[in-house]
């Protein structure tokens, strides 16, 4: 039976959507278990085997809570806030390449990516920046000074750290010469991982990613010791759940972006050797698909590591004071990011950039593989 490419693409989009939600759901469980383990406890272990049904129990709890609207709140915006936070969080995972292509017998290649846009990085950056509007609108609509303060903090923090994050990305762009996440992943598939070229840029990026996702040590918008609950003080029931959920989706997306940009995406050491061995024994089609699936598994391993890293940091570090946060963003990360750009520029002048280097590599680029398989 002939299944058109569009249908396959729709399936991939559904899968990406589902996987994103599933991972966010189990991040809540993982967060509690990791927190417990780091504090010499065992964490939730009552709901189901090893407490695996805990997210379900949490969801039931959140859904059955009273839906509360504070007096004097603007009702429409109050509902719109969490919706926006959730929507923007979910949108970002659309452009992440979760794997190379799967080749079908008839030569169709299915990209393991919801949509491929040639400005993927800009898209992620833009959508993630939009996420702060969810916090701002929610904080504003609550008619509560603590919520408003949290919202203002969120906005100021997002603006400050997006700057340094953007600068770190510019340095990466200079190395890769493309904005497409798939292109960047494929470059690393054929060459060295970007972390080798951009160690400083990665450190800046990961610090900013913590700030962008509002995770400790940068969780000042919801700083419960100062602001009760920050922007979600007045939220209850599933609207609160949506905010919490959006945070975990953001963590997942940030982890995926970091893995893709700096840690080779779906590439893993020895993939070309594996590809060549499998090609000689099983044929090109099988080899390509096997390497792709293994690559996707490896990418998820990287993502899970970064999600764990987010949690690890959260349960290690205390929260920054607000002036420290601003000082770190503006007087340290921002100048270092500019310095990183200058250094990168100097290195490119001296040694040439990655695109130029790619021409000398011996391994076949995956686009060529696809062309071969189509014949």
């Amino acid at each position: 039976m002939e299944i058109p490419a569009l249908a396959w693409q729709g399936l991939v989009i559904l899968a990406v959507f589902g996987i994103t939600l599933l991972i966010a759901t189990y991040s809540t469980y993982a967060e509690r278990v990791v927190a417990a383990f780091l504090q010499d406890r065992v964490g939730p272990d009552r709901a189901g085997p090893y407490g695996l049904l805990q997210p379900l129990a949490d969801a039931v709890k959140l859904f059955t809570k009273e839906e509360f609207f504070p007096a004097g709140s603007s009702r429409g915006l109050f509902i719109f806030g969490p919706c926006l936070a959730m929507t923007t969080a979910l949108m970002a995972s659309a452009v992440i390449p979760f794997g190379n292509t799967i080749l079908l017998g008839d030569g169709t290649a299915i990209r393991l990516q919801a949509i491929e846009v040639n400005i993927g990085m800009l898209y992620v950056f833009g959508v993630v920046s939009l996420g702060v509007y969810g916090l701002m609108i929610g904080g504003w609509a609550s008619n509560n000074k603590f919520s408003l303060l949290g919202a203002v903090r969120a906005a100021a923090q997002a603006v400050s750290y997006e700057l340094a994050m953007g600068m770190a990305l510019i340095a990466l762009l200079m190395v890769t010469g493309t904005l497409s996440l798939r292109e960047i992943a494929l470059q690393q598939y054929n060459g060295l991982w970007n972390i080798v070229y951009q160690p400083l840029g990665f450190i800046i990026f990961i610090v900013c990613a913590f700030a962008e996702t509002n995770r400790t040590p940068f969780d000042l918008p919801e700083c419960e010791t100062e602001l009760v609950g920050g922007y979600h003080t007045e939220y209850s029931s599933m609207k609160m759940g949506l905010y919490l959920f959006a945070e975990y989706i953001n963590v997942f997306v940030a982890s995926a972006v970091m893995s893709t940009l700096y840690f080779g995406g779906f590439s893993f050491p020895g993939e070309h050797l594996l590809y060549n061995t499998l090609t000689s024994s099983q044929g090109e089609l099988f080899a390509h698909n096997a390497v792709t699936i293994l690559g996707t598994v490896v990418l998820f391993a990287k993502i899970f590591f970064f999600i764990f890293f987010f949690m690890w940091v959260r349960w290690t570090l205390p929260r920054f004071r607000y002036d420290q946060l601003m000082r770190l963003g503006w007087t340290m990360l921002f100048p270092i990011a500019i310095l990183n750009i200058l250094l990168t520029g100097a290195f490119i002048l001296l040694f040439g950039n990655k695109e130029a280097k790619l021409d000398t590599t011996k391994q076949p680029a995956p686009t060529e593989i696809r062309a071969v398989a189509r014949k």
Partner: protein
Amino acid sequence: MKLTNRSKHLEKKPMTLLERAYLPAVLTGMGITLKHFFSKKATIRYPEELRPIAPTFRGLHVLKRDEAGRERCTACGLCAVACPAEAITMVAGERKKGEEGLYREEKYAVSYEVNMLRCIFCGLCEEACPKAAVYLQADKMAPPRFERDEFIYGKDRLVEPVDPNARSKRGIQLTAEQAEALARRMAGMDA
């Protein structure tokens, strides 16, 4: 004025570049938490796992019977007098004819109540008892309850059952292994 010489003089120096970079300190901290990640967990999964109880633990009261199965208590009231928390109340009664198999002495406790909310489990009643009738069990605790009056234990819940093997199901019971370990430790203490 200084009260002791133990106070430490701290100098507030501006942070060095390495300190301002935060990262070394962050990495050290993360190393510490990672060590805890793999360390032994302090959690006791309570209903399934119980903490080891000391062999001298003073738990829930029991009113003993003698070897013929008769209640030992004669309602002399010494335990109530000894009780610092005034948790014990009793009503004495005279043994009727034909009740010799039930009560050891001519006088017995018609009612005997211990208020477990008042009781401080000091064990003075046990020491005061001249008839070796009241004991605090080492392997049983007063369980939590929803109503306050459920904490007033009457004779129905205090007196030992006639069959020594049929222990009361009330209270928190040790598992077989725990009871065995306890018995072993108690044997060691006697020796």
